[in-house]
Amino acid sequence: MEIAALLKANIKHKKGSFISVLILAFIIVTTAAASFGVRENYIDAYERVQEAADLGDAGCIIAERLLTDELMEQVKSSSLVERVNVYDAIDRMGDTYINGNRDSNSWFFEEMRDGLKLVNPEYDGLEAEIPPLAPGEIYLPTGLRAKLECDIGDTVSAQFAGGVHEFTIKGFVEEPSCGAMMMGWKQVFLCREDWQALREAVAPYETDTQTSFFKIVYAFKTDKEMSDAKFIRELNLETGIVSKSVGALTKDQSTNYTGLFLNIVLYVVIGFVLVLFAIVLVVIAHGIKTETEMDFVNLGILKAQGFTSGRLTRVIMLRYVLAELIGVVLGIIASIPLERILSSVFKGITGIIPDKSIALLDAALLVIGMLALSALVVFLATRRLSKISPVRAISGGRKEIYFNSRINAPITKRGLNFSVAYRAFSSSVKRYLGILFITALLTYFAVTVNVMGAMTDSRAALEAMGAGIEDLGINYMNEEAVDHFDEFEEIVQKYTDIRVKRYTVHVYYSLNGENIITQINMYPETIPGLLKGKLPLMDNELIITEAVAGALDLKIGDKVTVEGKKLKAEYIVSGIYQTMNDAGYSMAMGIEAAKRVGSRYVGYLGMCLEDASKREAIAAELREKFGDIVEVYTFDYDEEMSGDVTIIAARAFRIVIYAFAGVFALVAVMMVCSAAFAQERTDLGICKAIGFTSGRLRAQFTLRFFIISLAGAVLGAIAGSLFSESLLNLIFGMFGLVRVYTVNTAMTYISAAAFICICVSVFAFIASRKVKRVEIRELVTE
């Protein structure tokens, strides 16, 4: 009972810190519960979609003529395989356009099949039934909707061998194997009549070297404990089906690629939440330390009346836990709409309509963890209560707060405000360690978010990580283009020099039995993203990513066997590199090396131009002269990236993180300022008595927090420069990117540090408004 009475009084008199902790807990729980909810809802929905689609544990896209009955029988009868689903598909020959937006990735046109779910027109749920398609209609995977900014009723124009075919979008379906926005293949669906008509139209152009007819083979593993990667590798070693395919994808890979962006963002958010929680713990510890100092006498009186240290600790603990509990309850409520908003952003990227449940178990674990850790911090921070002797406390026997400090600077007439403010800081640095730590943490995180932003938003960084970004691209439509190679270069060089020649083709080769996308380069010295070793300049060398090295237990210097569709050869691993292709599961070699396994030429000439502004003129001339044998692309990095959904999402994410950091800085600073203000009330009164105006005192108060925040921001920025990349490497490493390259400028650090400094200073100035209310008569002691 007495604890309840004391708790009530405690909350009433410490409502500032009570509300602060409540708000901080609210922000953390809102963010974390929403993030958990987004992830759980996505995973649940994705698993449901995968199950309904019945797509197997590994899928291969293989030319129809290569999937012989014998091969099919081999696969079906393999002890590794439980059963097989096979679908017919027709690949387009050129680009596909919707509303003028081009997509150059492979689209496999299939007959509508069972197991797919139709997304409702509001894109927030699924239709119970999927209406049959009429001739001229097409169902697209949902990931294309955001990517090509299209909607129901829009026209799809696809270039096939023999001509362009048009279809009207009837709706969007959840396609789990490669329907996500960022995946390079797409499966789209037609009615039987259209599909057969398309097949008949394309058939005359089918040759041995140029095929449009494919089979998509989905295999289900017998041993459910076996990893998908092992399953597909062993299946290939046994049957060779993957080596003959243009591409293969396991269920795990689909899962990984589909949720790639969502996972990266959510991991960063969870990291941020952990930082915020660390700040909450600092704020709580700081608050307890301050209130113990301020309430020294009262605590002594309570002890004199029979309150034990344990009881006093319980009162303080209950107050903080109660504040957190209220914050938790409100946070869980607020996380529901936030989860909906975040899910709607991610569903455009994943192509999966998430479920709408609350991640109760995760949220509960979070809450229990939070409360337990807070209770521990309160327990540790209140240990000093046991040292308060009633007699010493009541006689005002607390320790002096101020000491001589080595970092003191003299008080000067010129710069009086600054020197007095600095003295207040330097003479009680310990009091400000909390805010220093908080500022450093917030700055560190803001720097990390900037670094991440620079990484996703910077051309140089993307190139360093292996994402080839060229100003001009020439794509061969047939073999005839090979003979005109010199003429293409001559035309380009008439306008400007070629800075980087990235002449490539991407094919799937089997590496020691594992089907891996291979980047074949005419100029292997231009392959970006080398991490270790040397580039594959010789015809018996290749480089692999760390993901491949890990999966196949390979290292530099190892001999490997690469198998094309007809040929097989031995190579030496000359280096480790990274790339964004297939989420980092890839290898690369020069064209001379690739010739040994059957590749004869590169099919794509990517060029970085000295003068990129000439790209349109060059493209126009190339199209005019060679429009029938090549497709010419121009790429305006700034324009293209400004409309990219992932870039927009990354920028929005940066704004959200900054906003949260700002709110956190506000609450933490208000709390620390209030405590500092309470401690310094007498000094403020004295200063007023000797002639300082409220304005000057507020300026000093603000200046002091500015000094602290500056020191914290510098520490945070230094930590950011040292560890941000490591943190991102850790997060991105989980998804195949081994090394994150960033192109950081001074602004990466300055903007983060300035933002936090300004927030802290402004909030300190606002908190210092109480200075006006300090009356000198408070100094009177009757």
């Binding site: 008080i411 010129r414 002639g691 105006t693 409220s694 009356e775 100094l779 009177v780």
Partner: protein, 253 residues
């Protein structure tokens, strides 16, 4: 005819309390003169400190006027009041109230630096001189927490007079000191007054009151008596004490 530095008429001060008003000062009239050492005495709660704070511009009177140099302190802006506290008035508190993170020397120079009329070098020289005069120059780089109460109070006096104020206010300056330190502080104040410093002191310490040339007695928020004395002389302290004691008895002290 003495010249009044500060002239207060009809000064009232009341505080809100429990939904009502507590009237601490009611219609107080008082003049403070150039070169005087005036003491206000009275029982606890009589309002003497409140009166001093109102007169010194540390707190605002609820009603009335307090004229200093032709200006009404009651109506002054906060900025003007701050300037007044810095340049024209000095203040000594019972609990010293030195800024705890500044050394004794810095506590003295800071109000000097606030005053724009003097250079930093002049302020420092004056501070050194005052600390020497207060016999604490040897501990000038100490923090308040590192020196005794008497030394702190001497520092507070030096701080109060650094800007050569026209009027020095002292609120029970010996209230927290032992006998030895009390005498030292009173000697310093007497010395300052002899050199022309006008002083208004609030005290309930008879020994402190003996130093004054004029004693005002405050009761229930109003001045009910005034005693004028010749300049203080240590040799006549006994007879002075008897006289003041008799007067205080008549005030029912």
């Amino acid at each position: 005819m003495k010249k009044a530095i500060l002239s207060a008429k009809g000064v009232c001060k009341s505080f809100a309390h429990g939904g009502g008003q507590v009237h601490v000062l009611s219609q107080v009239d008082i003049d403070l003169y150039e070169g005087d050492f005036t003491v206000i005495m009275g029982a606890s709660g009589s309002g003497k400190s409140t009166l001093m704070y109102a007169l010194s511009g540390m707190d605002r009177a609820t009603a009335g006027e307090i004229i200093y140099d032709g200006e009404d302190i009651v109506k002054m802006s906060e900025k003007r009041l701050a300037s007044l506290r810095c340049s024209d008035f000095g203040f000594i508190f019972q609990q010293m109230h030195l800024v705890s993170n500044l050394t004794l020397f810095e506590n003295v120079v800071v109000p000097g630096y606030l005053n724009k009329e003097k250079s930093a070098a002049e302020v420092k020289a004056r501070a050194d001189e005052l600390l020497e005069q207060m016999s604490i120059s040897h501990i000038k780089s100490h923090l308040p927490s590192q020196v005794s109460g008497g030394e702190q109070q001497r520092c507070a006096i030096a701080r109060a007079v650094i800007n050569e104020p026209r009027l020095l206010f002292a609120d029970e300056p010996t209230g927290a000191l032992n006998r030895k330190n009390t005498n030292d502080v009173l000697d310093l104040l007497t010395g300052l007054n002899r050199s022309g410093q006008s002083i208004l002191m609030v005290t309930h310490d008879l020994r402190a009151a003996l130093r004054a040339g004029r004693i005002l007695y405050l009761e229930d928020g109003g001045i009910i008596g005034e005693l004028t004395l010749p300049p203080y002389d240590l040799n006549e302290e006994k007879s002075r004490e008897t006289q003041v004691n008799a007067w205080l008895s008549s005030m029912h002290w």
